[in-house]
Symmetry: D2
């Protein structure tokens, strides 16, 4: 690519240098395979500590789709189904991974990517008998696919409606770091953890080479989870890699610092673009933003920068998506804004 | 572990230093996600070149079980089944991964881990109508779970019986490097490739951090393979990692040198153990060997070395498994033999 | 039930007497099992003749959900999906049967239960790459769940858009008899058959004890279909029963006469209810009708008649569903109307 | 067929006349659909009474394969597996129906079609960790595919080993009538029922048109079973048919009388064939017998009678299978024997 910089996504670069260092340093130590190494064990302890749940089960896997399909398959009986926003990753962007494990994804409309308690309730009420699937899990992502985040109150309300209706609440945290360190967030990691049955902490999109940390809080869902991992091809012989990465991310505040940086870069973009008089498709406080720009200007921008055109707004304007990451240089943001201004 | 060395398996250590270097060097380059990066593309070219099949489709995944389940699911209609040795990885050690995709594994007895053409033929003849599954794929591993390897003639015969009976031949090459560089091998990589419809080249057990390279020779099996990868959670956002690794392994002869080293270390163990008067469960020319030792001696060995006791031979003797790898130091082998001698 | 009559559905009674007679008459003849009997063979011939496709494959199964799940599973690769109306039986009332075979049902909104060509086209365009499922089949029912029917033009347009986009068209004909004999129909059985790749002719809801006749017109979808039937538990040891039933239904015009009677009974209900000044939720020309009645009147009706309350219309009125069948006595309809008038 | 009589199987004829009568008599009664009719309810009561378990859940389905796949899918988590004899119907003759629901069938060798407690124990011990499936159900048939039956002691021992190892015991009773009324049986229906978690009582092979009665004794396995039935296409709209049949079979001793007749016909065949000096492949006390006859004589027999040649015994002799049923006329047996004698 001969672009100056791309804002396509938050996985365009490799890993944070500290992670590569840790891989280097530990390289020749002999370890037990398949996730039973000392690094994974230590990383799990750090995470349990961070979320303030000493009884959580922690497992590491390679990708978000893998996490979603294994977790959901482990939570449901054959006739049970998962409720998700129409825009949810599992409903649109996982090539039918959940259905391939035998389960229906019941989609509910959502303008901002978030599910409301009333929608959960309506869905439960609609499914009255054995001619229909039985809703069992509510799937949410935080941040959502639209970059929005759940407030503490919203999560508490969802958690409550789930508990009252015998549903599990599962949170896809591919961008959880970005959600928690965003200016819009009024909730902490232990608080989020405490409100959900299962969630995963995304590594791939926040400085790891690869890897997501699955956290199972509900003791009833912890049993035999490694069987599910193995059956779906998720147990890595050198599981140590995942352990080493998360150890580095959670040994201190690195995980949050990286997410915070990505958010700051997005904020600078928002500020700059707003100052130039442009609006946004949706108000996103995280590392994905959706400015609306004139099409002719978008064409010019494309000559130097990588990004996706998200949606047509009207005949002359479109919404684009800009994504920042732990690795986005402040300088790249500044240059982008200055180029935009010059057009 | 306070052991002097462990011979548990060939994935106890991290990656070959050149691979870590390559990850470091490429770390901040921005790349397209999900396996469409320039490294993966270049690595695929090197592999196509090595196997002398410019039309092969090459894909990279994270683990052997993942490779097996995705490949087999992509090859069969719902009522079709795969024939495998009773000891095959997919039949015993993948937690029912193949069945979880809906397909029966038809197992045939095998003393040495290899399948014979007659067994394929018998199995096909036994399955006469729609009350039974329809055999469609023959699954073999090379090297096998018992460390044995297929000769050129054996592979040609299997390939012939498969073609004559409308079956696909699929080879699990988790330890293909070790098989091809073993003294018992009389076949080359392009020759193996030419005889099978699909195979994978194992990286995890031969110097990579993680990763297996799937090679699809049969054009009829290439279409839409990335859908299968995505659906099973195998497309890594930073697919570049897998590309970078295989690029390094196949840029020159590194892949074969690493396997060769593992085999040499195993040879030295065989020679030393034979000289001490011990026999073996099976004659393995690769990096897994199975010496028979007195139980009291095994107990003493365990104090300093890691390995698995494989099977009881009689009241006083057992077979153990020793595995060497690209990272096994010659010194560790020498020390092990000298300690064994001293007991 | 101490009700005068129930209009719950079209499967409240047993079979048309001629079918029972045929079962009786053939009872002690010895026949080959699993659908390979002479009755099934003869019935298949009658059906091929009726639809004017001598090359169609015809199979008999026990239920509509069974037909749907087997047919759809036989038509799709693991990552392929079926497009259906939001109200479609497979989307709502089959307890996730399609997803349990591994496939996503992509639902599209539909006020009248019918799918429009533009919706098919939009759905195809939305699914751009391997991160999403690949639409492969369009599922329609005729009559629909709302009692509406497709016109010839509508079916031709759907068939065209499917062919142009490499999609199969599959028609669920649980109530095909009612659709074809309805006043609103301008299409014949051979014409319907000619426009779809696969369809089934419903027996259960039109005079049979049980049974649906699957017709596969597309030769590419005929191969090995009996394997799918067996694997899903659909091959009956005494498959003769299904053959005997369809032989009786298609030996002459019995199938159409029965459907026609059901439609006439519905027409009489519509006329009578309209004359009393009531309106309908949807204009249905088949054997399911949806009158809107005052709630206090519905309560009174319930004392003597069985039917489902379908939906609330406003604070004082609801839509109910009345279903007639081949067995509905004209007298029951007259009495119902006269009772309704008296309230 | 121009044969005098066929002994191919026990489903060559239709239903016992009393069943057809009952269908006739009840034909126009209006009933609730999908198995919630009064006949099914009454039949379930009769069965609960017969097995002396007022808390059993009873459901009716159309075929044995359907019963097996639904029951087993309802009993296991995704990584759990079922142990069965190598010759078991689910392992050989159901086209991979169990695997299609995602579960491995672990087969154990068995000369007589029966599983021994030691085999269960060995299988459990072999499966040590999450790299392998986890055995959860033991599947047996009574009578077995070879016509043999379990003694009370054998069933008690199996039940014990299952309970001690956290396994469910499931009995496929496609020919349970024949097993219980055989001379070799020392166990009653309530005793069998009491020793297993789930079983089904075969109707199709014992006088019904179609249908098997599933009995779930284990309360932990009863919940939501109708969801499984619906999802797999097993809920018949006119479920009344199945209820009516089983009501007739269990209203008095009809079920046992029919099975007893089939056994007597087989006994007469055994006695006659033995008197002529022939031996048997296996000693079967039920309605499937396996005499060994000279090949030249088998050819002559085939001119007048239908039966399967089961296996080659030596160059000049083969084992054949003769199956009798509730409908086998005593005269047909006598004629067969007299013809055999004449050859």
């Amino acid at each position: 690519m001969s672009l100056e910089h791309n804002f396509f996504d938050d996985y365009s670069e490799g890993a944070h240098p500290r992670i590569l260092e840790a891989l280097n340093k530990s390289n020749l130590t002999q370890e037990t395979g398949y996730g039973e190494d000392s690094f994974s064990s230590e990383a799990a302890n750090f995470i349990r500590d961070r979320i303030k749940n000493p009884n959580a089960a922690v497992h590491f896997v390679s990708s978000g789709t893998q996490a979603n399909l294994i977790i959901l398959a482990s939570m449901m009986k054959p006739y049970e189904a998962v409720i998700a926003a129409k825009t949810a990753h599992i409903n649109v962007h996982e090539a039918g991974a959940i259905e391939a494990t035998g389960h229906k994804v019941i989609s509910v409309d959502s303008g901002d990517g978030k599910i409301k308690p009333e929608q959960v309730l309506q869905t439960v009420k609609f499914h009255t008998d054995e001619h229909m699937v039985k809703p069992k899990v509510v799937f949410i992502s935080d941040a959502t696919e639209l970059g929005t985040v759940y407030t503490k109150q919203e999560l508490e309300d969802l958690s409550k409606v789930c508990k009252e209706n015998g549903l599990y609440l599962y949170l896809d945290g591919a961008r959880l770091g970005s959600a928690l360190t965003s200016g819009a967030s009024d909730i902490t990691l232990p608080e989020v953890s405490n409100l959900v049955d299962v969630f995963y902490i995304g590594g791939t999109k926040n400085g790891a080479l690869l890897g997501e940390a699955i956290v199972i809080n509900n003791p009833g869902l912890q049993e035999d989870f490694r069987y599910h991992l193995k059956q779906k091809g998720a147990l890595l012989a050198k599981g140590r890699i995942l352990g080493i990465e998360f150890l580095e991310l959670f040994r201190d505040d690195l995980y949050f610092e990286l997410a915070s940086h990505a958010n700051q870069m997005a904020s600078q973009l928002i500020e700059g673009i707003t100052n130039l008089g442009y609006k946004f498709l949706v108000e996103s406080p995280t590392n994905q933003i959706f400015p609306i720009l004139p099409n002719r200007l978008i064409e010019r921008l494309k000559e130097r920068y990588g990004f996706y055109v998200w949606t047509e707004v009207d005949a002359e304007n479109s919404g684009i998506r800009l994504v920042t990451s732990w690795a986005t240089p402040e300088e790249a943001v500044a240059k982008f804004l200055s180029y935009l201004k010059s057009l």
